[in-house]
């Protein structure tokens, strides 16, 4: 998400599951959809069967997805930017880009500030001691008119297109093959196939998941693919896009509702410590257009923010008190999950609430996690299952060898209901909010999560009421309008997210006409106001529960266009749009690029089509408004400006534990220079002398994370922990299929059965032979599957420089027969 928003404007899958069937070329890279998303994968088989789609899989392992691929291409883990940079170089040097699209819809022609540089692996502005960039030179050159300068002839040496060519000229097929281990011929074969979709009537779609996000350069891998898609003119098109397949049925909903420490609902952002001035906070986030006549949607930031504050603090939020701005916490630093455990270890975090989350299994370096949890005063776990985290203090022999007597942490388990035991909505990868209904009552004393949180809140509020405290106002004044205060219903919460009018709302064009009466649900976020007359708990979800009812509960799958845009099935944010940036599916004059895949078009007076136009409905093509309406310049960004931590163009950096020990492009800058590494974690990185193989973790289709080891049927189909190694390595190490092996990293070791396979082949990289060792993650010391080791015993503590997603996909291990 940290890559798609800077590139296109929104951090989400651009298209949706059903739309995969419209693709002509499907690339699964940085993911394994057949394994991890078997239900959604049906649209790949559909595209192959009925759209004659070519299907390419690029992965270190020949995966279940690869089993159905027309072309499988091996790649060394962690080198996807080298591969995709090579693709960009190929497309530019072979003139295989969709020229009209690139010129009109991307920032290729915009001119970059002259301070911008890239030399020897570093962009301009690097500060070595802090591992941070001063990003002030990564901007456009501004004209005297206040807009970014442009050169539509592409002559200017610093126009984005020329900088792009210059940057990726280094990524020749030979360099790509040397870094990635992908044979040159196979790399070129992929380039040729992708290049066929540079025409307006053919599209490629990319499907990825944690195989891209879980790297120290994960966001930039995704961005590299997004740039390929912009060059090919495949964004906004049916059958195109960059499709983020989320790893959990509602993880999209989690980010949408702002459950990351730096976010508020709807991708509004928390203020930093120093941002004490409300107007300055708003001004910084209310973007100014960078090109003339642009929609610049974030200019509406104050409307969404004020409506959120009204939803939270009701009448207490007034213009005079800046809508309770002072109630919001201000961040002194990012509180991501890696930081949590760092702070626990430093003794600075003493209590921890853990809801629907099993961090002991999900965060790198188990040893550090146990140490951190052991220092807590209390740990509250809200979960339907007795998770490994909730039992971290139990001794389970070699699988969890702790001294229980020495752990003083008080652990409180609050049993919650399962998804099938409650009403609610799940937001899928394609941004559909789909309502679901309770199938049965939860067992025993289990309660749904909202009731658990409500009970805690009501007790806390009572304590604050009785005992006061430093600043009880935000708690005491929080609106709590639920019919049963200690059990808010899913419907009530959904209506609150959608938002309502607090006063009669009139038509802006005709103030005598009342369009919504006070108390009525808004139809969409277009009606939200910054004057306190509307409330909305998450502007992005506006339109999902209106006066017409629960739009998420709709189940009409009629599909008049045949493109799979079922507008009356559930609700898709934003505004029920199914394909984001769909204005770009039509040419600059408003005519669909592909007459056979007509999505939206200009009918002479307005934008219309088989999807909800992602555009200002009455903006004629002649007005020159560009399709990426969330961006200040309206364009897809080949150059990311200052929005990425490690540079405006993706650059290949090695994993922090690199099996080749160098970076062939720039040996002095081996790994991501802007990544954050805590003291102590750096010392725990391993080297190839002791740990010569490239380890990578992944999921199996038989299991879901660490839940299904508690489920008998799943345990039957994959009962016991194993690792996968190639036949060549197995031979070298004298390991036979079914042998027990020990896999170790500099942080710990696990034991597991060996699956010896032809599906993992050694790769030739920078003059060395590189073997991969595959480590499926699903085992642990709780559950009914055979007990096993938590795989993150092995993994290193370093995250992506933008999202801090841990580098689970690339690390160093050794493997030995036990």
């Amino acid at each position: 998400m940290a890559s798609l928003a800077p590139t296109f404007g929104r951090g989400a899958m651009t298209n949706h599951w059903v739309d995969i069937k419209n693709a002509n070329v499907i690339v699964v890279m940085g993911g394994n959809a057949a394994e991890a998303h078997p239900c959604g994968f049906k649209w790949v088989t559909e595209a192959k069967a009925h759209n004659q789609a070519k299907f390419i899989v690029i992965d270190p392992r020949f995966t279940r997805s690869a089993a159905l691929a027309d072309i499988y291409v091996p790649i060394r883990t962690g080198t996807d930017i080298a591969f995709l940079g090579g693709v960009i170089n190929y497309l530019l040097s072979h003139d295989k880009i969709q020229h009209e699209y690139v010129k009109a819809y991307t920032n290729a022609a915009l001119i970059v500030n002259e301070g911008y540089k890239f030399e020897d692996g570093l962009f301009s502005g690097y500060d070595a001691p802090t591992h941070k960039y001063d990003r002030s030179s990564w901007v456009y050159e501004m004209g005297t008119d206040g807009y970014a300068k442009i050169d539509e002839t592409f002559q200017h040496p610093r126009c984005v297109l020329n900088l792009l060519k210059q940057h990726y000229a280094r990524y020749t097929p030979e360099v790509v093959a040397n870094i990635t281990g992908t044979p040159k011929e196979q790399f070129l074969q992929v380039c040729e196939i992708l290049a066929t979709t540079a025409v307006p009537t053919l599209t490629t779609t990319f499907m990825y998941a944690l195989g891209w996000t879980q790297h120290s350069v994960g966001s930039q891998m995704i961005r590299a693919a997004a740039m390929v898609q912009l060059l090919l003119g495949n964004v906004g098109m049916p059958g195109g896009g960059i499709n983020a397949l989320r790893g959990h049925s509602n993880i999209q909903g989690l980010t949408d509702l702002g459950l990351l420490s730096n976010l508020l609902p709807g991708y509004l952002t928390l203020a930093a410590d120093k941002e004490t001035d409300y107007q300055a906070y708003l001004d910084k986030r209310t973007s100014k257009p960078l090109r003339p006549n642009q929609f610049n949607y974030w200019s509406n930031y104050p409307k969404f923010h004020v409506s959120l504050m009204k939803a939270w603090w009701g009448d207490k939020a007034t213009k005079e008190n800046n809508w309770c701005y002072d109630y919001l916490p201000k961040m002194d630093m990012g509180y991501d999950i890696l930081r949590h455990f760092e702070l626990m270890n430093q003794g600075k975090m003493n209590g921890y609430f853990c809801q629907g989350f099993n961090p002991l299994a999900s965060i790198p370096n188990k040893q550090k996690l146990i140490a951190g949890l052991s220092k807590l005063k209390f740990l509250v776990v809200i979960d339907p299952l007795a998770t490994d985290t909730s039992c971290f203090w139990e001794n389970h022999g070699e699988y969890n060898d702790v001294d229980s007597a020495k752990i003083m942490t008080e652990v409180i388990r609050l049993p919650s209901s399962c998804f099938a035991e409650e009403n609610g909505s799940l937001t899928n990868s394609g941004r559909w909010l789909q309502w679901h209904w309770k199938g049965q009552e939860p067992p025993g004393e289990a309660m749904d999560d909202a009731a658990i949180i409500a009970n805690i809140f009501l007790r806390l509020r009572e304590l604050y009421r009785k005992e006061g405290g430093a600043f009880p106002d935000p708690i005491l004044n929080l609106t709590w309008p639920y019919k049963i205060p200690d059990a808010p219903s899913a419907e009530e919460l959904a209506m609150e997210y959608n938002g309502k009018a607090l006063a009669d709302l009139t038509d802006p064009k005709d103030p005598t006409k009342v369009i919504l009466k006070a108390g009525q649900q808004v139809d969409g976020y277009g009606q939200l106001k910054d004057d306190g007359t509307t409330a909305s708990g998450c502007w992005l979800f506006s339109g999902s529960f209106t006066e017409k009812g629960n739009m998420m509960a709709r189940r009409d799958n009629s599909d008049p266009s045949g493109l799979g845009n079922t507008l009356n099935w559930a609700f898709a944010w934003p505004a029920n749009r199914r394909i984001l940036y769909n204005r770009a599916s039509a040419d600059p004059t408003g005519k669909p690029w592909d007459p056979n895949r007509r999505l939206v078009w200009w009918d002479g007076t307005k934008w219309t089509g088989v999807d909800v136009p992602d555009f200002k409905a009455d903006s004629a093509p002649s007005e020159g408004m560009s399709p990426f309406i969330m961006q200040a310049e309206g364009l897809g960004r080949l150059f990311a400006l200052d929005n990425m931590a490690e540079g405006p163009f993706p650059e290949h950096y090695e994993p922090f534990e690199t099996p080749i020990g160098t970076n062939p492009l720039h040996p002095k800058v081996v790994s991501n220079p802007a990544a954050r590494v805590f003291k102590g974690d750096f010392e725990q990185f391993g080297k190839t002398d002791k740990f010569p193989y490239a380890g990578t973790t992944y999921r199996l289709t038989e299991h879901f994370h660490y839940w299904t080891k508690h489920a008998r049927l799943a345990a039957i189909t994959q009962p016991e922990q194993f690792v996968e190694i190639g036949e060549e390595l197995a031979k070298e190490k004298g390991i036979k299929a079914g042998d027990m092996v020990k896999v170790s990293s500099n942080r710990g070791q696990i034991k597991a059965k060996a699956v010896v396979t032809k599906r993992i082949k050694p790769l030739q990289v920078d003059g060395k032979t590189i073997h991969h060792v595959g480590v499926p993650i699903h085992w642990g010391f709780k559950g009914i599957a055979k007990p096993g080791y938590l795989a993150n015993t092995l993994t290193p503590v370093v995250g992506d420089a933008n999202s801090q997603t841990p580098e689970f996909k690339s690390f160093l291990v050794n493997v030995e027969k036990v």
């Binding site: 088989t45 559909e46 289709t701 189909t717």
Partner: protein, 289 residues
Amino acid sequence: MPLQSLDITRRSATTTASPHQRQTAEVAKLIDVSKCIGCKACQVACMEWNDVRDEIGSNAGVLDNPPDLSGASWTVMRYSEVEPEPGKLEWLIRKDGCMHCTDPGCLKACPAPGAIIQYSNGIVDFHEENCIGCGYCITGCPFNIPRISKKDGKVYKCTLCSDRIAVGLEPACIKACPTGSLVFGTKEDMKQHAADRIVDLNRRGYPNAGLYDPPGVGGTHVMYVLQHADRPNLYHGLPKDPAISPMVALWKGVTKPLMSLGIGLAVLAGFFHYVKAGPNEVEEEETEK
């Protein structure tokens, strides 16, 4: 479409005539290996619908699990890593289970009256209450499918969800399959569906793609679309020309009366033994943990 008739056309070790008042369309399950991702949803659906649970086993160095068919696993995925052309790896994943032969070797071999039956829609079903656990059906099966249950000593296999078909539902595995690899319908329709798939596979560089509906057993009511129909052996040893073992033919011909006599004598001997020695004490089977 009257797929759901449970009229029986053949019964093991029985000579009374079968009903033929009604005409039933032949059904078939089509397994398109080229669309199978080996997710095992079919295995789980089979266990759920039929309410059987295999044991939580161990890993034997392959992804296959449970490792083989059993009294509680009536279908399993077979994973084969093969190189049909040198250097070109393919991972062929085949759902294994009863093929529901038109000419069922198991039924022919079965000495227990009514233990194995064939419905007019083509489904071959085991009626375990009549099963004597002799295992002849296993010898009779050219695909090595039936398994004796450790729990009750009787033989089990895929029923093609005859109980679901009887009320107009598709088999549980079909319903669970996420990719459209498994489809179900009349045999004619399935052949047509397969023909379309073969055109697609031919176009993708599989000139020998084809339908597996082996004539040696009169055709089957579970059929495969194979990328390499000329080499079914690549798919975890799927037999190229399956036929009923000559031993079964022999048994059905000359030796059957003799064997029947032998069984009769054994039963008689058993009876006298029972009268003299009383019933056998059988220890209760260890309950599953």
